[in-house]
Amino acid sequence: MNVNHNTEKDRLNFWEKLYLPEIARGLGLTLRQMFKKPMTRQYPEERWEPTGSYRGRPVLVLEEDGERCVACSLCSRVCPALAIEVQAAETTREKERYPVKFEINMLRCIYCGFCEEVCPEEAIVMSKDYELVFTNQEDAIMGKDKLLIPIAQLQDRLEFLRRFK
């Protein structure tokens, strides 16, 4: 019969089968851990500042003369979770289009960063914002008012994209 034996009898030696020495070893390991410095933080008081490579909440880049976004909807198309809705409209600026409505449903967003990757204008980038709490579903749908972030605050990410994208 073609049976693959992998019983405790085959695997373990005499001392291991006795359990007790191994148990003592295991207990020793945990005991040593107890005297190590905790790795966790006191979260609300101590906050972690992510680096540029962190993929937090996606935001729109706001330049001095308005948003970079031209409402091409590529982010919306590529989004695997269908979190982004864009409505374009015409402006008199050199780039003829702008998003009259840009909404990201943060309940759908999976922070994959595809939107940022596909964006031809580098207008949508992943921010460092990871503190996302909502009390109802409507709040989780972020419009332009919450999405537009001045470019100065996004330098780390833009620098990261310049070097590694």
Binding site: C72, R77, L82, A88, R97, E103, N105, L107, P120, E121
Partner: protein
């Protein structure tokens, strides 16, 4: 001669041609309306290496030139194919477009002092292989891939042009022609593009209404149909006039005629013609502004010698020999001869899709579908019966029940704002008629438009042999000639990346 369409040398040549085409073409795809249905984009995707060796500065041209009231021209995107010039010359018969300049400075202009305002001008937006010519009405309204496109028939005139209805979030954003060599070839008129979708989106009667005192209040379908039946029962058959509609489908009119003859037992039946002598031309547009005048008459909604005709209706109302009016046509009060007469009626029951002057006077308003929400058939001026299917969801019929769906429609949930487009509480005309007839004890049970059409095919000789499947397969059949359909033309699929 042997032509290689594949192989290394061919690919090399294709790459080279694409590189030339793209030398001066801007990287506008993100903001270009044509993206997603652009031939150049498709070719670039298929035949280009995706890189250019062109390091020099690209030519810049004017980006926002209004060639006509509905056509916007972007000089940089133009690849100088001259399709629009030929269209203006040969189809629209308004030869105002031409190339100017030479070499890579070539661009398109109108002759000085002219504008490209032909009633068919917007067709150049469709035939333009790139996004150089775009519709000013649709400009930036939506990406192509966000919409669903449903085959339909234009209800704007009796030509019955084959169209596609572009819908996003249950709202029609644009109409475009669908090739049918026996009806409209590749074209449709600007008027239809600009007017035949807004009334579906706006000013709708979104639920049945009953008059209480001076105001109309929303009611349930049960209450509204019961009220309508109750009102009609108060009158003698000869006091009731039933008005069919050339804007409604064959199915609607057939059941209405059956209702008038068998249930109400009245001979007073006719429909109102909407003729606009200024509209027709010798190409596609016709004076009869309704899609189904032929069909309505064919299935039984026509003046009978013993009954009252539309022409005498106002007079008969004045004489008090007609006291109740059952109207399927949306807006008969707009007809100047009838406007005054309507207020003398004791009972006005109207099927309406939009609020108008008739609904203001009605005692019962029954919310009906527009052409974009129903399934049925229209018979055009050449007696061609053509199939219409729903493109917009209602409370009764969701998209999931076999309608065309975009990616957004497929995955939308109740908490997505982009999936909340209004679903109206409207019924197809024949469904309303059936409900009222059943309130009279008619005992009809048509389950869908198809079963009504089957009844028509069995009872109206001109329709015999027709079915929805055949109508879809041959893009329409001529009355009485279901056995010998016109040959199906080869329909060239011009934008294979476009949805549906």
């Amino acid at each position: 001669m042997v032509i290689d369409t594949q192989g290394q040398r061919t690919e090399h040549a294709q790459n080279a041609i694409m590189e030339f085409l793209l030398i001066n073409h801007p990287l506008d795809c993100p903001i270009c309306d044509e993206a997603g249905e652009c031939k150049l984009q498709e070719y670039a995707f298929l035949h280009s290496k995706g890189q250019s060796r062109f390091n020099e500065k690209k030519n810049h041209k004017d980006k926002r030139v209004e060639l006509g009231p509905n056509v916007m021209f972007d000089g940089e995107r133009c690849i100088s194919c001259s399709r629009c010039i030929r269209f203006a010359d040969e189809v629209a018969k308004q030869p105002v477009l031409t190339f100017v300049q030479r070499g890579d400075h070539v661009t398109i202009e109108t002759f000085p002092g002219t504008t490209f305002d032909s009633p068919y001008s917007m067709n150049v937006n469709d035939i333009c292989p790139v996004g150089a010519l775009t519709s000013m009405d649709f400009r930036f309204a939506s990406r192509v891939w966000e919409m669903s496109f449903t085959d339909s028939i234009c209800p704007g005139c009796s030509r019955g042009c084959n169209i596609k209805v572009g819908v996003r979030n249950n709202e029609i954003l644009r109409l475009e022609p669908r090739t049918n060599m026996h009806v409209n070839e590749y074209w449709m008129c600007d008027d239809a593009r600009l007017t035949q979708y807004k009334f579906v989106n706006e000013n709708r009667v979104s639920s049945p209404m009953i008059r209480k005192g001076n105001t109309l209040v929303s009611a349930s379908w049960q209450d509204a149909t019961a009220q309508a039946a109750e009102l009609l029962k108060k009158f003698k058959p000869s006091e009731i006039m039933v008005v069919g509609s050339a804007r409604a489908t064959n199915e609607d009119n057939y059941l209405l005629a059956k209702f008038a003859h068998n249930t109400l037992k009245t001979n007073n039946i006719d429909f109102l013609r909407h003729v606009d002598n200024a509209f027709g031309d010798n190409f596609l547009r016709t004076n009869d502004r309704t899609p189904n005048a032929h069909g309505a008459a064919e299935v039984g909604v026509k003046h009978e010698t013993s009954g009252v005709s539309m022409d005498h209706l106002a007079e008969k109302i004045k004489q008090r020999s007609i006291k109740a009016l059952y109207v399927m046509d949306g807006d008969i009060a707009a007809n100047s001869t009838l406007t005054a007469a309507l207020s003398d009626l004791d009972c006005l029951i109207v099927h309406a899709s939009n609020h108008n002057s008739t609904t203001e006077r009605a005692h019962v308003v029954l919310a009906s579908t527009t052409y974009a929400e129903l399934e049925g058939t229209f018979t055009n001026m050449n007696k061609r019966v053509q199939y219409v299917q729903p493109a917009v969801a209602t409370q009764d019929h969701e998209r999931i029940e076999g309608m065309q769906m975009s990616r957004w429609d497929k995955f939308g949930a109740s908490n997505d704002r982009w999936a909340r487009g209004e679903r109206r509480n409207c019924h197809q005309n024949w469904e309303i008629v059936q409900d009222i007839a059943n309130a009279f004890g008619a005992g009809w049970h048509y389950s869908d438009s198809g079963s009504v059409f089957k009844d028509i095919a069995n009872h109206v000789s001109a329709f015999s042999g027709m079915s929805y499947d055949l109508l879809q397969e041959y893009q329409g059949l001529t009355l009485g000639k279901a056995g010998s359909p016109e040959p199906k033309g080869v329909v060239y699929q011009s934008n294979y990346m476009k949805p549906n």
